[in-house]
């Protein structure tokens, strides 16, 4: 079978289309299917991350560089789990919470690229034994949620949030 559009081999997408009150099936190769906006095999989820990681490679690639003594940054390794920058580059995965502090210099530009931001503005986590400032931030977040619940007329939710705010205030030593 050949592609109906370009005559190339191995059509992988068979698209049913309606034209002039008739249905017919188009057999398309991956390229032509994509040209029609049908992605038989969509881009890998994190092609963006992969690209950014590859660029990161320039800075961390060689032992050669460090042996030459010209290296500006030694190869840091996470003191907790032992992950190296090279290891991160290979897998795209961090190994533990401490990695985020160890590699924060490298992570900020990366986050800017893949997330378009560096600063978290969502929920503030309150650990089981919070400090006063953590509690204050947390109250702020809860009030924001409460406003939203009222706006959405979700009164059940609003009541829950009010309870949460109340109990958090009460817990102040």
């Amino acid at each position: 079978m050949t592609c109906d559009e370009c005559g190339g081999e191995n059509p992988v997408v068979h698209l049913t289309v309606v034209e002039d009150n008739e249905t017919r099936t188009l057999h398309l190769c991956a390229t032509c299917a994509e040209a029609r906006g049908v992605h038989g095999n969509p881009l890998p989820e994190n092609f963006l991350l992969a690209g950014v990681l590859a660029q990161l490679g320039g800075e961390v690639s060689g032992e050669g560089a460090s042996r030459g003594g010209a290296s500006t940054s030694p190869h840091p390794a996470c003191p907790f789990c032992g992950l190296t920058l090279r290891g991160f580059k290979e897998t795209g995965r961090l190994g533990c919470p401490h990695c985020w502090s160890t590699f924060e210099k490298q992570l900020r530009p990366l986050l800017n690229r893949v997330q378009g931001a560096v600063q978290h503005v969502g929920k503030v986590y309150l650990p089981p034994d919070p400090s006063a400032s953590e509690r204050e931030k947390r109250l702020e977040g809860l009030r924001r949620k409460l406003d939203r619940a009222v706006e959405l007329e979700d009164f059940e939710r609003a009541a829950e949030l009010r309870d949460q705010i109340r109990s958090l205030r009460k817990a102040v030593p």
Binding site: G95, P97, Q115, V118, K123
Partner: protein, 424 residues
């Protein structure tokens, strides 16, 4: 369905009831939060000690935390492989948790079980993987492979609840919720509540600048991935789908068409989710996705309207042919079923097939997946047997639904009414 523990028995099935908004177009809304515990390595760096310690803590928390009350904690290694596959097909666990498929399931076989894979790093719902591989369709998935799950990999399944928690997947915890139709706010409320409670028992890894810390930088911050599974035959048939999807990617959403392996576009199902997790509040992420999905629904409805007015006879024929084949076929591959089901779903949505409920169609999608067929049969099935069992199940459901009367042609272009369906 005999000796399944209560958690396994109904996990991941709540959305089938089609009770949610726009349930004919939006199959389900799912959401997940990635969380990690302080003091333990995660992802590929985690060792057995880390994973078992995390699981121990989660077990303890599951006994106290209200939204998880009475939950069964199923360790993947202790779970018979066919049970694990049931959970996979229901999108309650991911391939990665199961220890197969590595980081990604790039291609997609079933819209239910593969790409979406339960908010794992795999697939769209989580989107935290760099690699890509050809996906495994449910047909080619080996059903009897013994589990390769890592020690400590587990899933927490509270009874009669749309929430669940994967333990020791790419992140220590993947909180997830799966509800019917378009209901991002309800999904968020449920998962937020679970998160708040669980976070009081388990010290999460949180950073003032980066937010909730995750193994993959694409999940950090809120750790939130929300996704909606849509049926968009109108946009596909009118060839507008490309434009729409392109538009979505410009506003920070990702989409994924669900396709079979090298053959027909399967079922016109698309999954849309947020691309980024950092720099926006959870509410903003949810609201934005909600607004965009509503727009997509509007253009889909317009496309369907155009189809009916410009190609009414063809559309109606497609719908009834699909119904006819499903009603009488003696053997159906999963792909063929999904394509026919797409036409029938469109027919139900356009009220061309009165008397047929979306619930029945959802059930067909779920219970004709390989592991579900085998569960019902109580034994392993060869591919040919599977196709026969699948067709038999579909016939039974459509028969139970009763008589589907032919309606008058919606378009008015066809003067002769469709012939009476010789039902039952």
């Amino acid at each position: 369905m005999s000796d399944l523990s209560p958690g396994v028995a109904d996990a991941g099935l709540h959305w089938l009831d089609a009770s949610g908004e726009h349930a004919d177009i939006v199959l389900s809304t799912r959401m997940r939060l990635a969380r990690n515990l302080q003091g333990f390595a995660f992802g590929p760096r985690s060792r057995v000690n880390d994973r078992t310690a995390v699981l121990r803590r989660v077990r303890a928390a599951a006994e106290t935390v209200q939204p998880l009350k009475g939950a069964s904690v199923e360790e993947l290694r202790a779970l018979p492989p066919h049970r694990a596959r049931l959970l996979l097909e229901r999108r309650v666990i991911s391939r990665e948790l199961l220890g197969e498929g590595g980081h990604d399931s790039g291609g997609v076989g079933s819209p239910l079980s593969s790409g979406s894979s339960a908010g794992s790093s795999a697939g769209l719902s989580a989107g935290s993987s760099t690699g890509s591989s050809t996906g495994t369709s449910p047909e080619s998935a080996s059903l009897d492979a013994s589990t390769l799950a890592a020690e400590g990999a587990a899933v927490v399944l509270p009874p009669a609840s749309p929430v669940s928690v994967m333990v020791n997947e790419e992140d220590h915890l993947r909180l997830q919720v799966l509800v019917s139709g378009l209901d991002l706010h309800e999904a968020w409320n449920q998962i937020d509540l679970l998160d708040e409670e669980l976070g009081q028992y388990l010290p999460y890894a949180f950073h003032p600048e980066f937010g909730f810390l995750t193994s993959c930088p694409t999940n950090v911050g809120t750790g939130l991935r929300a996704s909606v599974l849509l049926h968009l035959p109108g946009l596909v048939l009118t060839k507008e789908i490309g434009k729409v999807l392109q538009g979505l990617s410009q506003v920070g959403l990702t989409f994924r068409g669900l396709f079979g392996e090298g053959s027909e576009v399967v079922g016109n199902f698309f999954q849309i989710s947020n691309q980024t997790t950092l720099g926006k509040t959870e509410e903003d992420l949810v609201d934005q996705l909600d607004a965009m999905v509503r727009q997509v629904i509007q253009v889909e409805l317009q496309a369907r309207h155009r189809l009916l007015s410009h190609a009414g006879a063809v559309t109606e024929d497609k719908v009834w042919r699909g119904y006819g084949l499903l009603r009488y076929a003696r053997s159906l591959s999963f792909e063929e079923l999904m394509n026919l089901l797409s036409g029938v779903r469109l027919g139900v949505s356009l009220k061309l097939l009165p008397g047929l409920r979306v619930y029945a169609l959802n059930k067909v999608m779920m219970f004709t997946q390989p592991a579900h067929l085998e569960e019902a049969a109580g034994r392993a099935l060869s591919p040919a047997e599977r196709d026969a069992h699948r067709a038999a199940y579909v016939r039974r459901i459509l028969l139970d639904e009763g008589r589907v009367e032919g309606s008058t042609p919606a378009s008015g272009t066809d003067p002769t009414p469709p012939p009476e369906e010789p039902a039952s």
